[in-house]
Symmetry: C2
Subunit: 329 residues, 2 copies
């Protein structure tokens, strides 16, 4: 099914797409003249903020939930998350009738917690950060016999994320656009590895770049160093990017496939949130604006090119949004 660095094949993507199709329609790919002018490139915006949880993670989660065996559906799933992966699982579980337990660290984004509870998930708030919440999830999974749905290290998750780029390639063709590059946010790497698998299968002319937050740059640093990294902390207002290590299922593919990998500080992420609000009038969280922030960092290389970025997620909390607009971030 896979070989070498690649955790999934194009066939896995097609199968994921078929599984999630009854629940998720394709999201729009749009251009905004004001955004093009601001960036100095032809920017195609993929609106995964339109998905039911306002984030692409709905694809990943439904890809997992829809692939469960009947006895697994009955037992239920558990995951650690900072929010969007958990909201995706909670939404997908509610739709298909699978119990979902979510572990978040103490002090997690309260609006993301409310959304997960709103979809009916059991929420466990424990641990200092994502990694500690993940350890707690592993323990509870054993105690209760639940299926663990990892946010990154799961072939079904990566195949779900790859459906974004599969759609982009088809939509761009229908719009008579030839995409030169994509700049893709890397939290755990599912979105970027998904983009690599899809472009390698269907659009090899597209260069894929990765982008991480400077305060949570373990995968970025590891990519440049050529070996895995594990850091003690992650510090960024873009909670969806706040990871602190490489992941077994994505690092090899990122190493092999990415054309480049940049990092951007919180001020640059916040500026991209403001640009997207001003030019597209869509709400976006820090992680969701990272693709655009990476494009801005790569401005010299990508000036005048046609570049696709993924707008996802949108789940910024009100307080962070106010700080972004007040230029406090």
């Amino acid at each position: 099914m896979t070989n070498g660095a690649w955790p999934i094949s194009w066939d896995d993507v097609l199968r994921a797409r078929e599984r999630i199709a009854p629940y998720l329609t394709a999201t729009p790919l749009r251009r905004y003249a004001a955004l093009d002018e601001e960036i100095g490139a032809r920017v195609l915006v993929k609106h995964d903020n339109h998905l039911p949880t306002n984030a692409f993670k709905a694809r990943n989660a439904m890809s997992v939930i829809s692939a469960l065996a009947p006895d697994e559906r009955k037992r239920g799933v558990i995951a650690a998350t900072r929010g969007n992966h958990g909201a995706g699982l909670a939404w997908a579980g509610a739709l298909v009738g699978v119990p979902v337990v979510i572990c978040v660290p103490v002090g997690n984004n309260p609006e993301k917690n409310a959304a997960m509870r709103g979809f009916g998930a059991e929420l466990i708030e424990e641990g200092r950060d994502y990694d500690e919440a993940a350890a707690i999830a592993a323990r509870i999974a054993q105690e209760r016999g639940l299926v663990v749905a990892h946010s990154t290290n799961d072939a079904r998750v990566i195949a779900g994320a790859a459906t974004i780029t599969a759609e982009i390639i088809e939509q761009a063709a229908a719009m008579h656009e030839r995409i030169d590059a994509m700049v893709v946010a890397v939290g755990g790497g599912s979105q970027a590895v998904g983009a690599l698998v899809a472009t390698r299968a269907r659009a090899t002319h597209i260069d894929v770049y990765g982008v991480q937050a400077s305060g949570a740059a373990a995968i970025h640093d590891a990519w440049h160093a050529g070996e895995p990294r594990h850091y003690d902390r992650a510090q960024t207002f873009a909670d969806g990017l706040a990871t602190r290590s490489t992941y077994a299922m994505t690092f090899g593919a990122l190493r092999e496939g990415l054309r480049g990998f940049v990092k951007v500080d919180d001020a640059a992420l916040a500026e991209s949130v403001r640009i997207l609000i001003r030019t597209t009038h869509n709400l976006v969280e820090g992680a969701g604006a990272a693709g655009l922030a990476g494009l801005r960092a790569l401005r010299d290389q990508l000036a005048g090119k046609t570049v696709a970025v993924i707008l996802s997620g949108a789940n910024i909390d009100e307080n962070s949004l106010r700080r972004v607009l007040n230029r406090e971030i």
Copy 2:
């Protein structure tokens, strides 16, 4: 085709729906547990902010543009607007190949102006307010032989707006929801008259309420007084609601059909913008949050009921959004 107070028939709505279907897919109807809890009602949110111009006016505009005769298409259309109607026309015109001229008052929302120019419209900034821009549009229409596309007084516009509620009724049925009421923002009245035409034809159990901004309450006041009103000014940050008179094609139907009509001040509109951001993580302008603000004003009557509101548009400018989040509005 029509009778008495009613400017359009259900057949007109079906025809508009057929005309716009190639260009606009149905927007989602969703529930948010955190919003229900905040409001104390079961709230169905219609996401017309997902449309290409982030506003329901894309329906109205495409309904007009797609109904033009071949010679009218060649001549082009002109309209006065504060923004969303003009953006809709500019978008629809660009898609179908019809030249579009838009007249806006001096000092209009700069981000809305940029969007209209971005879709390729010719923008004329002249006049103190909407009414003066409308007079300028009428003059230019004569000089150049353009078709005037009025934002409200046009049967095709109202039929386009009615497709929102036609979709809501079908989607609610598919979700096994029984809607008790809708609370609908009134700028010129196309959205509300559209809701009335659709509910009278397909869901007579739904009570439709209107809502206006206190600083632009001509139609509200006229509705309660039983006779048309024309005011000298309109003052609200919700520019999409800043009208100052009744309109010939909507007033009679609003009088006959609306179950009630409330007004809300800018502080209440701003609070609803914040609530929608916090609970749904969708951006919304003042006019787009007016349905929810009206529901909050009607809280005593509608507590515990199932109520649909339309989230549209989303084109708040960055400065107004900052003021809303800083509680300066």
